[in-house]
């Protein structure tokens, strides 16, 4: 099924996308539900012929990721289809946090503003359109929690059946959110890497036939959703790339796609070419990429995750080597912080900016603080830190409750020393 040229009949359903292309050997394939190269087993990516894309065209588009549809593998009429229309989440000027950390200019890209309150709505939205085009009727995924909710909601909105797979023992909010939309939620005894292995097995079996696994056989499409984070940050900064960005690492895909998004904006002439530094953030309890970085290795040694940052708890991150490449090329690095630092950073972000982040946002904010303290980030340069999820989904991470419980009287109020 490898092809040499673009496939004209696919152009409409996949917008500017022309083919799948192997990231390793460059072999090209039709736009089909496949994810690995037949020849070298490298991961497949979407290849495009963008044509001319203008700022004005984007700015006059929908208030969602669909304003960037000319840069995404989606149908031209995607904004009219029943989907979650995620994105265009706030880029928040964080002056109080910047002051506390000693930075001149800091923004928080707060992706808890998405429909199911994590960045996963972005990637799922693209995968759903691919699933629709390919005629799948069941949507599936392996998930650390946020993705399961995003798939459940998107499937409901778009009229798909869904069956999602999660490791047992996830946060209650994530499990409820995965299940409330009425699809099947299967908890597997094991960690995320076990769930992932199970899904690879299922997809090759008769039971998984006709299923669209958003992060397996639809992965090349799915991954492109993360580029929209880069597009939005640049547009929201006034069509300018930030100097420094701190990104969480689970599989590593998001970080690589943010870099891809920045590069595409430069190539399309939508922003000026300039250097930017990409920093990856992991929790110490699941830091295989940060460890490879520390040790100067190119290969990622898988680990068994043990951290409260469950949404980042992927012990065998597929895109780890690409993350190392990007950190090296851009002059960034890959760092990790302990669970205690994660909790502390969640509270810091809440107290200074009124943003209640998931543990993943504690990881990025904690790593940002560490980088500033250790002098490895330029405090004068324009910095963006990502919060990719919502504190409401990881409530137990923070130990927060009433200051006091009293009788409803002034006497009780005064007696409690609250006045």
């Amino acid at each position: 099924m490898a092809i040499a040229a673009t496939e004209p009949t696919s152009v409409r359903s996949f917008g500017p996308a022309t083919a799948l292309s192997c990231r390793e050997c460059g072999e090209r394939y039709e736009l089909t539900p496949r994810f690995a190269c037949e020849f070298c087993f490298g991961p497949l990516e979407v290849a495009y012929d963008f044509g001319t894309v203008t700022r004005a065209e984007i700015e006059s588009g929908p208030k969602s990721i669909w304003r960037y549809r000319s840069l995404l593998p989606v149908p031209d009429n995607v904004a009219e289809l029943p989907n979650m229309s995620p994105g265009l989440t706030p880029l928040i000027r964080a002056d109080r946090l910047a002051a506390e950390l000693g930075l001149d200019s800091l923004h928080v890209k707060d992706d808890s503003g998405n429909p199911t309150h994590s960045f996963k709505d972005r990637v799922v939205a693209i995968a759903v359109e691919a699933a629709r085009t390919f005629g799948f009727t069941t949507l599936s995924c392996s998930s650390t929690g946020n993705l399961a909710g995003a798939v459940g909601a998107a499937a409901a909105r778009a009229g798909f059946d869904s069956c999602v797979f999660i490791p047992a023992g996830l946060e209650e909010a994530k499990v409820v959110m995965a299940a409330v939309y009425g699809g099947k939620v299967v908890a597997l005894d094991g960690n995320y890497d076990d769930v992932n292995r199970f899904c690879s097995e299922l997809i090759g079996s008769p039971e998984g036939e006709g299923w669209g696994f958003v992060n397996v056989n639809l992965r090349p499409y799915y991954g492109e959703g993360s580029k929209t984070l880069a597009y939005e940050i640049a547009e929201q900064l006034g069509w300018r790339l930030p100097d420094q960005i701190v990104v969480p690492i689970a599989s590593g895909s998001q970080l690589t796609k943010i870099d891809k998004g920045f590069q595409e904006l430069i190539a399309a002439g939508l922003v000026e070419d300039k250097p930017y530094r990409v920093f990856g953030a992991q929790a110490t309890g699941c830091s295989p990429v940060a460890r490879a970085w520390e040790q100067g290795h190119d290969v990622i040694q898988p680990v068994k995750p043990d951290t409260i940052a469950k949404s980042l708890a992927i012990g065998n991150p597929a895109d780890g080597p690409y993350v190392l490449d990007i950190a090296r090329r851009t002059g960034g690095s890959v760092e990790h912080v302990s669970d205690a630092e994660v909790v502390d950073a969640i509270k810091l972000l809440a107290r200074t900016e009124g943003i209640f982040a998931e543990t993943a946002g504690g990881v990025t904010t904690g790593v940002l603080r560490k980088l500033v303290r250790e002098g490895r980030l330029d405090p004068k340069a324009e910095t963006v830190v990502l919060n990719t999820g919502d504190g409401l989904k990881t409530l137990n991470a923070v130990d927060a409750g009433p200051t006091a419980t009293i009788a409803p009287s002034l006497e009780a109020f005064t007696a409690a020393g609250l006045a």
Copy 2:
């Protein structure tokens, strides 16, 4: 402090607002932190001199409620100040829910997209700007939960101290969210009406001096935030009023302000004048306004709330009589649904549209279904239903969990009958 004319010195800080005006007797006051008429004890409202406001001006504004700043009592530069910039939440075309209910055209206004995931961010944002102008340093409120989180976050972002009051026994997520931003959270043994009484006592005491209670002494400003729901719905429908709208009732303020917002749009020539019907929604366990409606009374008989819809559990709703007026004038009504119907409606909305609503959204969706079933809503007319909060904050209302928990193997998957 009553004044006869507008107060030019206030114009800049409060934008187009010119005075406070008594809703009952029309007496006018300077724009100060007060909420009741000295003469007749009626509630005070913000009066304006809008001048010319155009659709183009609004459409080119910020992607938040600040696009409507020419219609709100806020400083001209409000979008540059450190606040939560809520609003412009999605108006979701709900074709699958419409089909299931038998409606031709239905939209869900989903206010869970706000920064702290309830509509309260709208009202707090206006109150915070008033508090800033008045020089208050502590923000406070009586809250059924969502407001406490909204005040905590907004205070953190804007650099205020905060001390919020809630009834003991609220949902965990609401308590954690209220506390995580670092302000004081005081739980009072009693229900919301007890909390409200306590705050009125506190505000008249030396202990409450210099405090801005967003829903007490800042209430006239605060209330105006709800108008933005009306503005957004009209703009998102293509500058058109809906034919029918279903709105939850707690204090009743939101419903009255949505009506006010529609009327202002008509008066400003931003939409065509046309009839619209406003329907109020309560949970049976706290339905004093619906009962007054049923019985044809003008006076609200307070009740002791007993419902899972805690965000609507105000037994003595201040704006109840105004709600009855509006329902009567517009040809709407005020209805109630049981807690079981609330849960069922939450699941219906989730299953058909991928929207996970708080119990309050179950109340409005449940009432919508009831109105259609009983033939009291025109199924051919353009209908909007409000979801004002987030299912993540009332997790326990829905009994949702994994379909199955199994070993990560194909055999286990097949054996569990999941294939």
